[in-house]
Amino acid sequence: MSALTTKRPRGTEMSAQPAPQPGGPAGKDYGRHFGRQLRKSLPTWFMLVLLAVLILMPMGLILFSAFSSSTPRPGAIGLGGLTLENFKVLTSPQSVKALGNSVIVATASSVLAMLIGAALAFLAARTNIWGKAVIYFIGISPMFLPSLVGALAWSLLAGPATGYLNLVTRAVGLGNLFNIYSMPGLILVLALYYAPYAFLLIHGAMTLMNPDLEEAASVHGGSLGKILRTVTFPLVTPALLGSGVLIFALTMENFPVAQMIGTPGQIETLPTFIYRLMNAAPARGNEAAAVAVVLTVLLIAVTAFQQRVVMKRNFTTVSGKGMKPRMMDIGRLRGVGLAFALVYFALAIVLPVIALLLASLQSSPYVSKLGELFQKDSLSFWSLFQTLQDSAFLYAARNSVLVSVSVAVLGTALAFYLSYLVYRTKVPGRKSLEFVAMLPLAIPAIVMGLGLLWTWLILPVPVYGTILVLIIAFIAIYLPQGYRGISASILQVDKDLEDSAVLLGSTRARAVAYVTLPLMKTGVLSTILLLLMLAMRELSAALFLFTSNTRLLAIVVFDDYDNGALRSAASTSLLYILIILVLVVVAKSFGARSSNGGK
């Protein structure tokens, strides 16, 4: 190994510049040297400019507006009204409560989501459980359901008095048992729909894990529990921490669930607080920005902590050796594991879909008894067919697909390039690149949406009002997720493999394409899928950016809900899920081909 590393491969190291040759024309050499310096730092500069427009400018506008007495609008930006007045809103007891609620909800739901996700990932990746493909399917399937739709479905299922579950418990004489509009309800719904994030990241890490260490532990007499505790889980620490922080941030900034489940139960969180400020009459964008700044600082602190933990150690587990993760015999726990997975599936998918179906078929929005649903003419497919033919729906469906596919492909490419620059090269400023790329994680999407609106109205590029601005916005917002997904797997692939290929005469690009990328296949595909789902589901960021021609499915559902058109919201939601399902199947079939049949 040391022989290989003495000669540094081309293009990876900035510091290893050869000194100017003695005797040559010094000036020319210096120029060439300088030129090369510049050329080599070009990727960084290019990236920085891109990230500045994508991320820094919207953030700057938000920050500016937090300290300004008027919201920045095109033609109305001035430094005249700088003030700290906006931060006063944070001192009210209610906003302190909202902050407290947010922290409680985000902590509890991310812990619950991690437990669910990690357990399923472990079952699917590393045990001899029955029906592993099914478990994998269950683990990721809630991603087909946008949290917006999940929240809608759960309010139908377990709303006080008339939720379908309450109809059932009432029919068997138990009375009304459920009220989803409560703290536990909010935590449950968030956890259900954010568990797949943990599942995807942890599953990816567990399949890539080198089994040698576990085998060694096993040979030396370690029990299953001890191996898991001291070898397996410590090895997936980056994935665990990564998904933990990701889920914490996402649940903290989640707006649709908080609005549909929390608000009716009078549980304020920071995102609904921000939404309310934005929606106040007149809009209090400046104060909303002030709240957003505080939320941002909070989340940056969490992200920084996580960064420190991941950076401290070397987690490389994929090397040149062939490897196949060992399957652990969990014996009788297989039944428990399967039951656990099925219960999760029922709560996250089956019951919500049934609720949506019933709601979209009901001819009257009101039912008092379960039996009423089965009377003649009480259910009809009419509304569902109406929605299917509705031009607004078809247009929104087309837009959603276009946006999410573009975001998945372009976003993953960008994330890979960034991740490569940061982890595989020594270009100057790569740490700052990473810092900037991770920033959107800490900004509530709804606020980022406003910042992006201002940005693209101000920039002299005519993308505002087109579908392009939504693609740009979603790439910006989901860069951290893409970057984290790619980084987690790039960190696990040994750099020496790619360097060997270069040493043997390959170009760097070829080495990346034929060595690094194939090794990262699971990670890259997971990231594409992740971005596809995220973009397909996104609501908050689009709220300020869509026009009548660029409405997305999520916007249509939320507007229907907001307008009280619940049946239409339910019909659209069902078709929304179907479209997502089709996209996933298509994406999966691509994945299967590229891996020669897959699993």
């Binding site: 209610q94 608000t263 934005m278 007149p282 109205l457």
Partner: protein, 372 residues
């Protein structure tokens, strides 16, 4: 993975087949807006005997074919209006519907960037419309009956108009509450039997809530609000969400807009509104044409139509009070709403709202212990 998808699909298909025996018939609905009594589109556009556009304007408008409307009006109601307008004139309407406050933000931003995409803007709240007007989002257009409209209808030389006022009162779920038990007055809502079963929108939810709270503080007093808060109402962020919750029976009684209740009832929701003896609130909706309209002729026809007798009649059939003082009060769901002169409808006046808005908001938030 693949097999599980296949299985899921098969199960779903079976379920669908099982239920599809239950037919795909349209649920019974009520037609809300009747056809125009008389209409002539051969040269001038004349509806119900009133000229809405002369032949030159109407020909241009038909050639333009459509308008883009930015609206803060309740989507279901706006769609009914659009349906009637398109039926009358053949001109299509592309609707961008946003809650009023987001609409304000959107219009100001687009206008500032010189990219205003609307031909016509409909918006509640005088302060918001004034802000748009100040930003230059409106251009003057005098409707044919301009001379007959009073100063509470036309503003700034025809830059924008007050078109109608929705009535904000309360409503109940008829499946859960019998007509005999139903509350008849605002005071009835303080009866302990409604504790935990009622709802209201929060004060900042829009111009509607602001006008309602103004009415409640003016006519019923702050103690009334305290009594209402003590009933532990569910507080909603939008009247649409509240309406749906009432229709589904999650709550039994809630504040409600007459036209929304009317539309919900027409779609089989068991809801009915009440005309309380203390009166109820009205809030304004305005309409204006933009200077950058891409369909200027069609936009003019739309504004003319909105302020015509036909327009007034369409709004009245939905349950709104037309701004034109000569138009009769609405009668919907078999209930005749009281005329303006009875003093029961309390219109939120722009200057009164502007003067007290901040205080109303603070007082309401304090009484209801609400973040905002």
């Amino acid at each position: 993975m693949k097999r599980s998808i296949k299985t899921t699909t098969a199960v779903l298909a079976a379920a669908l087949l099982a239920v599809s025996a239950a037919a795909c018939s349209a649920p019974p609905t009520v037609t809300l807006v009747s056809k125009a009594e008389s209409i002539s589109t051969t040269s001038d556009l004349v509806i119900n005997g009133q000229k809405v556009a002369d032949s030159a304007l109407f020909a241009k408008a038909k050639a333009e074919g459509s308008i883009t409307l930015y609206s803060g009006y309740v989507e279901n109601s706006e769609k009914e209006v659009i349906k009637a307008f398109t039926k009358d004139t053949g001109i299509k309407v592309d609707l961008v519907r946003l809650v009023p406050n987001r609409l304000l933000e959107r219009v100001l931003s687009e206008q500032g960037a010189g990219k205003l995409g609307a031909d016509v803007i409909r918006m509640s709240e005088f302060s918001s419309v004034s802000a748009m007007n100040k930003a230059g989002a409106f251009t003057a257009h005098k409707v044919p009956n301009y001379g007959q409209l009073d100063d509470t209808v036309k503003y700034d030389g025809g830059k924008f108009y007050r078109v109608f006022d929705p009535a904000f009162t309360f409503a109940y779920n008829t499946a859960l509450v019998s007509a005999a038990d139903a509350p008849k007055s605002w005071q009835d809502l303080l009866d302990p039997k409604w504790k935990g079963k009622i709802g209201t929108t929060q004060v900042g939810a829009g111009g509607s809530s602001a006008s309602l709270v103004r009415f409640q503080r003016n006519v019923l007093g702050d103690d009334y609000l305290k009594g209402y808060a003590a009933q532990q109402p569910r507080i909603f962020d939008s009247s649409g969400a509240q309406q749906e919750s009432l229709s589904r029976g999650e709550i039994q009684v809630a504040t409600g807009v007459v036209s929304s209740v009317n539309i919900a009832a027409s779609k089989n929701a068991p809801v009915k509104f009440v005309v309380p003896k203390e009166g109820f609130a009205l809030y304004d909706y305005f309409l204006g044409m933009t200077p950058t309209a891409k369909h200027p002729a069609a936009a003019q026809v739309f504004v003319n139509w909105n302020l015509s007798k036909r327009g007034a009649s369409v709004f009245a059939q939905l349950g709104e009070y037309p701004a034109d003082a000569s138009a009769p009060a609405p009668k919907v769901m078999g209930i005749q709403l009281p005329a303006m002169k009875t003093g029961l409808p309390h219109r939120g006046m722009p200057d009164d709202l502007a003067k007290n808005g901040k205080e109303d908001q603070a007082v309401w938030n304090q009484i209801f212990g609400y973040v905002g």
